[in-house]
Symmetry: C3
Subunit: 205 residues, 3 copies
Amino acid sequence: MLNLVFLAGLLIFAISSAYFYFAGRNKADLNTAFLVSFVTLISYVLMWQGNLTVVTQAGQAIFWTRWLFYALSCTLLMIEIAQLKRIQGGERAQLVYLTAIVMVTGFLAARDLTAIRWAHFAISSVAYVLMVIKVLSVKAPGAQWVRSYIFFGWTVFPIVFLLAPTGLGLIGAAVANLLYLLLDIYTKIVFSIQLGKTSAETPPA
Amino acid sequence: MLNLVFLAGLLIFAISSAYFYFAGRNKADLNTAFLVSFVTLISYVLMWQGNLTVVTQAGQAIFWTRWLFYALSCTLLMIEIAQLKRIQGGERAQLVYLTAIVMVTGFLAARDLTAIRWAHFAISSVAYVLMVIKVLSVKAPGAQWVRSYIFFGWTVFPIVFLLAPTGLGLIGAAVANLLYLLLDIYTKIVFSIQLGKTSAETPPA
Amino acid sequence: MLNLVFLAGLLIFAISSAYFYFAGRNKADLNTAFLVSFVTLISYVLMWQGNLTVVTQAGQAIFWTRWLFYALSCTLLMIEIAQLKRIQGGERAQLVYLTAIVMVTGFLAARDLTAIRWAHFAISSVAYVLMVIKVLSVKAPGAQWVRSYIFFGWTVFPIVFLLAPTGLGLIGAAVANLLYLLLDIYTKIVFSIQLGKTSAETPPA
């Protein structure tokens, strides 16, 4: 089951990498949609291989590498969101740092099987809340949909983390990784398609 | 004793993170003071947990993760120092790279218990000297205090490294980490408060 | 033999670091040639030490740390190449990301002794081809030599990777690392000297 989830993720992100690469080939700019899918593809290959995990007392595997790859892909996504919301300079850098901190502390919490993982989880949550407050406080025309995208996309990740073997262990590794796959598709593929449409409709700043 | 030092560091940097966050909330810029304290907080949580260490033959623990977090916090500090000294563009990038090299080779020297750690220490020292020469060669009005801050703050770190179990082992892990904590407070909290005052007094470039 | 190769690399890049540092001392810009040599020096010290390796079934050591240091040095080189070719902004960022992906997936392929390393190798190759296509598609006056430099310099790396214990194992660790050393000298020292001449001849953009 777990292997199937990772294989599905691998195939889906291989296809989306190819799609976004060709769709954005003629833009003389950073092809974020392609890079995000490509980094996620690498992450799924590594989880599919499966030798970089820790195992909980309940015998559930935790694939902590996921969070290191999110540190790369989600900072790229944050740069796009900031651009859409016309957040520039130091404020944008602050959002990118906070996103990286959320993911690196998520990695520390995932790797750690002791109770101290809750300290990492708490710090990650604080960074996440500070990031969300900052993003949502800025309103930009044509970017209202980002609000619901962040609430229903990004915020579900820490909830799954909490329920999964990384947290309370109420759901198993297979279900957790299936939920993460669905979230990855929503936040990295659906989002990029929606963003492409928004960019086509609204003029640049 | 060691646990107490890390717990103290954890609490102090939790408080300073909160303080700098609220103090800088209304600045539409990168809140470096907050990010530096926040990254240091994560570093102390990880050292408090204590499972990422190597142990010397004399039975002293070396907390090598410290230097990886310095790579992040000290590059942020270096950007601030460069700004204060009006160092821009490629020269600023050079300082940031050198700072990162100092810390990553410090990490390599700390993780390594063989004699080859002295080679890493030597490279780290060369990078440090090149960085200090560059910083001190630029004089800017209102930034004279940075000179003594670097001499009494940053330069003491390699001296502690040399005396600690990472180097000659003349002092134990507890004393070394207590000294690092005092240095962290001086270079990351006291410095940021002093920098805030300087920024308020001198007009931007 | 292996130790001799690494010791030679260590000495050569110590000398080139010193040379490029003094040659570029008066430029008020990023001294890329120096930083690239300096990062490579650190890489050789670490390989000379030799405790961060995996050993294949045939008893050959793989020094996977090499690829992590390439992630740093080759992104620096890519920034120089992009500057020479007048590639700016998002397109330059794209090249830097692709270069980093090539090296990080190279690291993953090198660390992995299972058949799945070929998946990492394939992804690395795709990223490499996309990068080369982008670099070669842009023509700039005085930068024609970069074409042959990339073909005879950079492209030989994945070929050695394929023949070495990391791939098919047709050549041993000693020969592989000797070839890498020659490539390092060509792509990091000879290239930087040639680049310095080109920069002196052509006016900046």
